[in-house]
Amino acid sequence: MGMPPDVLHAPAPVIADASVALVAVVAAGTLVGVAALWLVVIYNGLVSRRVRVQNGFAQIDVQLKRRHDLVPNLVAAVKGAMAHERETLEAVTRARAAAVNAEARAAAAPGDAAATAALAGAEGTLAAALGRLMIVMERYPDLKANASALQLQEELVSTENRIAFARQAYNDAVMVFNTRLSVFPDLLVARMFSFVPAALFETDGASRAVPQVDFGAGRGG
């Protein structure tokens, strides 16, 4: 249906009602404007918090990648001395491969619940495998004199600390974002633009055990 062709040629007396029309237009405009302004402010707040979540994930990602790069070097450095521990070493290598995969998937969708949980699980497995490797390493006195193995181990431990720190920052950002998604005025806007809550990056106890292994204070030697 088109509009009536002669609507623009309505008779002049219409203007007598101009003041009424003026008030109506200004009031409607103001209402629409205030609503739009409010919408924009809330939407911006949500977007900026989501960006913080993404940046937080990127921080974890940098450190996880570093851990993934360190692991093969450590395996190579200790392989010669630990020929009889093939199983332990293979477990570490397998866990690393799985973690690398999970990391790539999670990085493609930061905050996605399934991907983040899978990544946390894979990293937990890797951390546990590394923890076993380090305990086994203590049985090899030769390795305690191996500077590159010691250096790599130290780097792994400090990387672990950085991962914990980055995880804390990420989880802080997720909590703020998710809270905003669930409180009243914001939640309407969040529904309208289908914002989804981000997933916390939670690890089980296994990964936290790793930094505690102190190579230098091991028994024997």
């Binding site: 509009m3 003026l22 404007g33 911006n44 990127a58 920052a169």
Partner: protein
């Protein structure tokens, strides 16, 4: 062409004022347009109808105002909002990707050379060669680059592009750009509302010929047409302004790097077919933020690329004019004072400090070389730590560790009490040695960018640790003060909008007196520094030097806080007096230069790095 940083701030304000006038004219023109539309369609051509004019003015006023406010609310997100709209992702300062590392290094080097806080760098995964700088002020500036830009350009070309973007930051083009987007949004809102009104009329059906419907329909068409026309002229203004700023930024890029080949090479690669197009839908709206045209637009926001290349190439032939940094550049040749504390007595760095003052916002290759050299002299492990948000805390703690062994152990115990891994990282760094005095400030600036990534809870925890460390010995020394000022700027929980305070003579007196005492061997030396400072502008300082006992660093903080909210002119006078005080006697120590630069950072004046040439 070389324009004082403060002048360009003032001019940006004037330009903004001019744009306001143009904008108001455009709005008045729009009101007139709507009025004519109404008069012709409804009033039978009677233009002298006050109530019709009132309708036109009221509706246009409300719509443009609200449209502008909405856009301004969007722009309040600063440069990060623009980066997000263009599909950018922040590059983690600790990134190990070689391509990302390269652009981070180029940006960091340039920021430290110029005295600007190291800005966050965003990457857009696009193949075209493009970049942008956005933000409301230099301190909330962000830099964005496309993946294509990093891939296709070599380091010199990338440096040229980044220098171009830094020019936009210094010359306050970003603020102008943000306003332009907001106002154009306001005018554009007219046509959007017009369209909405027409649609609503259509949906109400054609059956009843209501008078109100007629008014609404007429208004709708009027607003739509006039909004489009207003937008057309707005874009004309925008593209005219933008093109001039692009020429200036190209010229500045050559001035900063003294290398026309860099930026010209980048432009040639775009011209030769790599292109600068962006896929992001917002590219048109933010076109004037970009390095080169982001979309094929009717109104180019950028001059023709061949014209830009020709102009840049022409500058090499000496059209640049007398370089402000020529003296410093020849003297500096990238040499940094020996790592041992202090400066050899034979080196007179006064010219370098004065050159730095002259180059606020207009730094040159001497500063770039000095920045490159000093960053290169920092041990790799230390620099890497400064780029990690977690380890940047450790580097910061290291800088405030006492040289006294007992005191240092007490400080480490404090850190351990709060955060074991942090204490461990501090110890590991301390075992590798302390940064040399001239490395402190650049390191801290690198740390500040990483610390800005801490979550609010982490930042709060770190502030507690740091303030306990600083207070550990019951007094605040210069380095501790510097750390405190810069870290506070980086991780301020809520950048509260300060009320505009007019700094008093007392504020200036505290700041300058402190500086006089810091560099002085005795009271006479302090008095002569004071006299030198006073000679720059007797009106700005009180008559007499404050006694040393009253020049506490806390008092200095308070006085700088007053200046931070002040206008460009007040800050310029303070900086001039400070430079005079520091350069009054021949030996400008690293410490004096450090305090000077920290003071400038505290009042948001980007003081370029002092390049210590061999005299």
């Amino acid at each position: 062409m070389a324009m004082d940083f403060f002048e360009s701030q003032e001019r940006a304000k004037r330009n903004t004022g001019m744009l306001v006038v143009l904008f108001v004219l455009a709005a008045l023109g729009t009101v007139a347009g709507v009025h004519v539309v109404l008069a012709v369609s409804l009033g039978g051509g009677n233009l002298a109808n006050p109530s019709m004019l009132a309708i036109a003015a009221g509706s246009v006023g409300v719509i443009v105002l609200v449209g502008t406010l909405v856009k301004m609310a969007q722009m309040a997100g600063g440069g990060r909002a623009v980066a997000a709209a263009l599909g950018g992702r922040q590059i983690d300062p600790a990134s190990r990707d070689p391509e990302e590392r390269r652009v981070l290094n180029v940006v960091e080097e340039m920021a430290i050379a110029s005295g600007l806080p190291v800005p966050p760098v965003y990457i857009m995964e696009e193949d075209g060669i493009n970049a942008f700088a956005a933000g409301n002020t230099p301190k909330d500036a962000v830099i964005g680059v496309t993946r294509g830009c990093i891939r296709a350009l070599d380091r010199d070309e990338l440096q040229g592009v980044m220098a171009h973007e830094f020019s936009h930051v210094f010359h306050q083009d970003m603020r102008l750009n943000m306003r332009l987007v907001a106002w154009l949004g306001g005018i554009f809102a007219l046509s959007m509302i017009g369209r909405m009104m027409l649609r609503s009329v259509r949906f109400r059906g054609s059956g009843k010929r209501n008078d109100g419907v007629a008014v609404v329909a007429a208004l709708g068409i009027g607003l739509f047409v006039v909004g489009i026309v207003g937008y057309f002229f707005g874009r004309l203004i925008q593209s005219a302004v933008s093109r001039q700023r692009e020429y200036l930024a190209d010229a500045s890029a050559v001035q900063y790097t003294r290398n026309a080949d860099g930026i010209a090479g980048a432009l040639e690669k775009i011209a030769r077919g790599a292109g600068s197009r962006l896929q992001a839908p917002a590219a048109a709206e933010f076109g004037h933020f970009l390095f080169a045209d982001g979309v094929a637009a009717l109104f180019a926001t950028h001059p023709p690329i061949q014209e830009r290349i020709a102009r840049v190439r022409g500058m090499r032939a000496g059209q640049l004019g007398p370089a402000p940094s020529a003296g410093a550049a020849s003297a500096a040749a990238a040499s940094i004072a020996p790592a041992a504390g202090g400066v050899p007595a034979s080196t007179d760095v006064r010219p370098a400090v004065r050159a730095a003052r002259a180059e606020i916002g207009e730094f040159g290759p001497a500063q770039l070389a000095a920045s490159h050299a000093v960053i290169g002299s920092i041990p790799a492990a230390m620099l890497e730590a400064a780029h990690e948000p977690a380890d940047a805390r450790a580097v910061t703690c290291l800088l405030v560790l006492s040289t006294d062994t007992g005191e240092r152990l007490r400080q480490l115990a404090i850190v351990r009490e709060h955060d074991r891994p942090l204490a461990r990282a501090v110890e590991a760094l301390a075992a590798r040695g302390r940064p040399a005095p001239e490395q402190r400030l650049p390191l801290l600036e690198a740390c500040a960018a990483s610390l800005a990534m801490l979550s609010p809870a982490q930042a709060a925890a770190f502030r507690v640790i740091l303030s306990r460390l600083v207070q550990a010995d019951g007094q605040v020394d210069r380095v501790e003060w510097m750390v405190r000022v810069l870290v506070r700027k980086a991780i301020d929980p809520s950048p509260v909008r300060r009320p505009v305070v007019r700094p008093t003579h007392a504020d200036a007196r505290v700041a300058i007196s402190t500086l006089c005492w810091i560099g002085a061997r005795d009271a006479a030396a302090a008095a002569s520094s004071w006299a030198a400072a006073r000679s720059t502008d007797p009106a700005v300082l009180g008559p007499t030097l404050l006694p040393m006992s009253e020049c506490t660093l806390d008092a200095l903080d308070a006085s700088l806080a007053a200046f931070a909210g002040a206008g460009a002119d007040a800050r310029r006078r303070l900086v001039d007096a400070a430079v005079a005080a520091v350069t009054a006697d021949a030996d400008v120590t690293v410490e004096e230069a450090e305090v000077l630069r920290t003071m400038c950072a505290a009042i948001d004046v980007p003081m370029p790095i002092v390049s210590r040439g061999v005299a």
